[in-house]
Amino acid sequence: MSNKEQQQEYAQKIKPLQPKPPYVINCLKAYLVGGLICVIGEALMKFYMTYFNFNEETAGNPTAATLILIAALLTGIGVYDKIGQFGGAGSAVPVTGFANAVTSAALEHKSEGIVLGIATNLFKLAGAVIVFGAVSAYIFGMIRYAFKTLM
């Protein structure tokens, strides 16, 4: 087993030989892909507000659902992982990334059956988002409501 100094020395030594992530290009790609997904979202929102009975507050729901449907289908036909490799966070951060995490996990475990494979693994990757979202919303909600009632 190597000690700390040897590990640090090795890390230093190999640093010049390791390729660095292309920070600028990755950020530009993420900006482009993430921005475009939001533009599609904006178009969907306008669509639901014009042709259906939705207002600015409520149009977010069918928009999210539609984007999730599109992302799930793109995952199914094997395209979303390619978009993800190109766009990085640009395709992971929008709600479509959430849909991809859900769908890809379910799809991958299809071979283990519908109950123990698909259903059990559906939230394998995306579950963390819901857990952290719900817990933090609960905590922030408590604090905010406490402030409000005390003031």
Partner: protein, 116 residues
Amino acid sequence: MDYLWAFLVGGAICVVGQLLIDIFKLTPAHVTTSFVVLGALLDAFGIYDNLIKFAGAGATVPITSFGHNLLHGAMASAEEHGFIGIAMGIFELTSAGISSAILFGFLVALIFKPKG
């Protein structure tokens, strides 16, 4: 104009995520969970609503808006039922997103085969 702001703000949020991945070596899962917490936090100070007014889908499509919606639902329900309402209302507004993710994810997994 709406489209331009949606592009600019939505893209910018994604760039923050990309920097967290490339520089701080976070996994995408860590980035999305942090963003949900961040969205809820911004909503706790009432900031996120302003961002939505300004950027539209640029603020509602990124996963940060999931945190914002969770807290929003909780607070709306708290108005009615007090402290108990917070837990009751958390998933009120995000129901469409979660149920469609479950439904579409399940159906796609049933129909398609992984391509690799």
